[in-house]
Symmetry: C2
Subunit: 174 residues, 2 copies
Amino acid sequence: MLRTAADLFRNQGYHATGLNQVLAEGGAPKGSLYFHFPGGKEQLAVEAVALAGENLRVALQAVLESDPDPVAALDQALELLGANLERTDYRGGCPIATVALDAAAESEPIRAACDAAYSSWQRLIAAHVGDDGTAMVVLAAIEGALLLARTRRDLTPLTDVRNHLGALLGRTPR
Amino acid sequence: MLRTAADLFRNQGYHATGLNQVLAEGGAPKGSLYFHFPGGKEQLAVEAVALAGENLRVALQAVLESDPDPVAALDQALELLGANLERTDYRGGCPIATVALDAAAESEPIRAACDAAYSSWQRLIAAHVGDDGTAMVVLAAIEGALLLARTRRDLTPLTDVRNHLGALLGRTPR
DNA sequence: TCGGTAATAGACCGGTCTGTATAGTAAAAC
DNA sequence: GTTTTACTATACAGACCGGTCTATTACCGA
């Protein structure tokens, strides 16, 4: 159920996703939801965000450790994100951003969960590029590229960021 | 009415904003809305996005033209965006992103409106940095920084991007 | 003064939302 | 074998959703 909720939140956002839809898609009745998540929709979102954030963190870590060169590793991560976006008809972007933008303002627990996910990604990137500020910029560029690619329905924002990773990480360009 | 709708969409997103709320805050009855916007909520969102996009484009253009050095000009733009974010209790980020993420998937007209706004910004930036790809990366970094800053409720993502503008635009760093 | 139009005002509709209450079931505990 | 616990299943409640309808007011040229 958490997995289907995370998927739906990612694709449609918090308010656009009804509990009935989560239940129908997950094949569970309503009573079960409120037994396992007495906090209701808010708790469901918090845990779904945490789950999605951890999943992506693990995947990102695997990619980053697969290549000692952070530029090459991040390039590969962006390629994977792009492939996923394409595969889901440009719906599966960042699993956190959608919820962050339309629920974080009204629910402090949800905001904190999104913040925690982003921070864990940033720390991970920082560990490989060596600098917190640079890691933040890289993360911002990735998040922005996902947003733009999703809106444009094409991958050029992601490839553009890939092409500029070197400059971003302080390599002498070209 | 368009202005209040744009504000609410920006702060809360598409689905979280009820028409009743728009009407109450704008002081108009429901009949008027459907007289001026027979397309209903969707049309309202399209026009609100277009309005907000054009407003920001004009503001951005003014800033970019105020300084011949694109790095300095973009730095100033980011400072303004940050000030605005702070002033609105970290609610007033990108006026397009919120709607783009939770309505673009289900409404093609809304998606197209968001796309148009982003494209107009990108073209504007490209005219000052001289390269489409670089402009896209700058825009992505700004959008991502706004998203992260809003979620974290602090301005470091924006300042981090400001500090890396030089590297992003191909200047030899430091 | 008189139509006629532009726009407002708000009641109202079916549907859906989140959340609750209650009934039922399956398996473990004793 | 009965009781307790853990969980499922469904019906239902109240609020609110976007959208439609009719009535009414403001305005304007003739």
